[in-house]
């Protein structure tokens, strides 16, 4: 099987020119190339292809190029395409489908931590509020990362400073929070007494869930559990 591998390229090329391959051979050749490119983990160079094909079809580069052209034509109709890159040829999914394919690797959104939720809730209900006040109510320190994350998400913003020594920042909610919660106004949130009573809270929540709130698309997507999450590290956790 290996005898032909070491033949000089030129000879092989000459041979192919004198005895031009019939069309059906070219078809078959293009399928052999397709099989190789689909199964390979990396691009294959012309040299590699010639060598790999040698036992089935002793061919030269010229015939191979014709077969690649044929393959390119045949693929036009589907979701994949032939592409020449630095290290050779490969079959890749067309860019049109990159978005849908990316979903295969979509990460599961990390869970929001309890500390973040408590901080956010306090800002909702007690804004404008300083970090010190949040800490006082929660009874524990609030990590600067939490506030940073909340600001980055567009859920809260610094609305001013308290003119006291240290001039602590005052935080308030930002418009994105309403969008993400699917609310028109913060007034829709249950009142504090309602929250205190579990039954009333449930009633308030189902009232909110029942009304036609237009969920932004982003949220609906984020809710869908990822299909294949095994491939990527899941260490990304928001604090």
């Amino acid at each position: 099987m290996n005898e032909t591998e070491d033949q000089p390229q030129l000879e092989a090329a000459d041979a192919s020119e004198t005895q031009a391959a019939p069309t059906h051979d070219l078809e078959r050749l293009s399928r052999l190339v397709e099989a190789l490119l689909l199964a390979a983990d990396q691009p294959l160079s012309l040299e590699q292809l010639v060598k790999l094909l040698a036992p089935d079809a002793p061919i030269g580069r010229r015939e191979l190029r014709l077969a690649l052209e044929r393959l390119e034509q045949r693929l036009l109709d589907g979701a994949a395409e032939l592409r020449e890159v630095a290290s050779g040829w490969r079959i890749q999914v067309k860019a049109d489908y990159a978005e849908v394919v990316a979903r295969l690797w979509q990460e599961k959104p990390p869970k929001l931590t309890r500390a973040l939720l408590e901080t956010l809730a306090l800002i909702c209900y007690r804004q404008p509020i300083t970090r010190g006040e949040i800490e006082e109510i929660r009874g524990v320190a609030v990590s600067p990362n939490i506030l940073k994350t909340l600001i980055e998400r567009g859920w809260i913003r610094e609305v001013g400073v308290r003119e006291t020594p240290g001039r602590p920042s005052l935080f308030g909610t930002a418009p994105q929070l309403l969008d993400d919660l699917g609310l028109r106004s913060l007034d829709q949130l249950p009142s504090l007494p309602e929250i205190k009573d579990m039954e009333q809270l449930e009633a308030a929540l189902s009232r909110l869930a029942g009304q036609p709130v237009e969920l932004p698309v982003a949220e609906a997507e984020a809710e869908a559990p990822p299909v294949l999450e095994a491939e990527l590290p899941t260490d990304a956790r928001i604090h």
Binding site: Q92, E107, L122, C124, L170, L189, A222
Partner: protein, 291 residues
């Protein structure tokens, strides 16, 4: 005899035999048994080739084109014992199962040669029966294993066709708080702080709180301003009221100051300055906060 067998038989067997004298039933073997076609130096390989005594027995039976149901027990036993003896003499490591089988075969043989005690016939315990049953059962799975191997398999007959997009843009999806989670978090923190008993903020509409933030932000960004700058006329009267309430609340909290330069001059809303009632950290003491 098949081609393989005859070709194997041609291999020089005797030198090996001379090097390792073999005794079968106490008698020295001067030549290899005729039906033992495998050269002794290949026995090690043979041992690996068989999947145990049942496999070896099956082989011996099949070699003679016999059905399991027609086992010539005597002949097979003889051959089997010869194999085992040979393997032992060559000091090949022999699995105990082979010896157990040899013992079983020897038992069967002796029983067949001896007149049957009546009791045994009645008990119905025929060791041959058990042997044949085991051979049959084993052969079924041996065959099944071969057909399993014959099935096309991923990695051997099939290969996954794979193509990836040139670039995979990973969008890290960010979590969005669920209202329920948010409420439950607040409920817990409130219970922890016993907020209800100390403060009367329940009736405050949340939009007022939000408006307080907006007023503060406006003053921070634009400096001192007038009431009209803070009112959105589109919100109507209710909007004006909320702004007013927000300003009053902020003033009470000393977050803004209301400044009037002269009588009848416009009231300016400006960033607040520390007043009495604040503690050293710039926080209001609890009593002062919400009264």
């Amino acid at each position: 005899m098949s081609e393989i067998e005859s070709s194997l038989a041609e291999l020089p067997a005797d030198p090996a035999l001379a090097a390792h004298p073999v005794r079968v039933h106490g008698q020295l073997l001067d030549k290899m048994p005729d039906d033992l076609y495998i050269p002794p130096d290949a026995l090690e390989v043979v041992l690996e080739a068989f999947e145990g005594p049942l496999d070896l027995l099956l082989y011996l039976i099949r070699r003679q084109n016999l059905d399991i149901l027609d086992i010539p027990v005597l002949a097979i036993t003889k051959q089997y014992v010869q194999y085992i003896a040979l393997m032992q003499s060559l000091r090949l490591e022999l699995a105990a199962e082979y010896l157990v089988m040899a013992a079983l075969l020897a038992e069967i043989k002796s029983r067949m040669l001896l007149p049957k005690p009546v009791a045994e016939v009645e008990s119905g315990e025929d060791p041959r029966m058990e042997l044949v049953r085991r051979l049959q059962e084993y052969e079924r799975f041996k065959t099944a294993a071969e057909s399993l191997d014959g099935l096309p398999r991923l990695g051997r007959d099939w290969h996954l066709a794979s193509a990836k997009p040139e670039e995979i843009r990973l969008e890290r999806s960010l979590p969005v708080p669920q209202l329920r989670d948010l409420m439950l978090a607040l409920r817990e923190v409130i219970q922890r702080a016993e907020l209800f008993s100390r403060h009367q903020i329940a009736r405050e509409p949340l939009s007022l709180r939000e408006r307080m933030s907006r007023v503060l932000e406006h003053v921070k960004l634009n400096g001192a301003c007038e009431l009209v700058d803070l009112v959105d006329l589109a919100e109507g009267k209710a909007g004006v009221v909320v702004v007013l309430l927000a300003i009053l609340e902020l003033t009470k909290l000393a977050l803004i100051d209301l400044v009037q330069d002269a009588p009848f001059a416009p009231v300016l809303i400006d960033v607040g300055h520390p007043r009495e009632g604040m503690d050293a950290d710039g926080e209001w003491t609890e009593e002062a906060s919400y009264e």
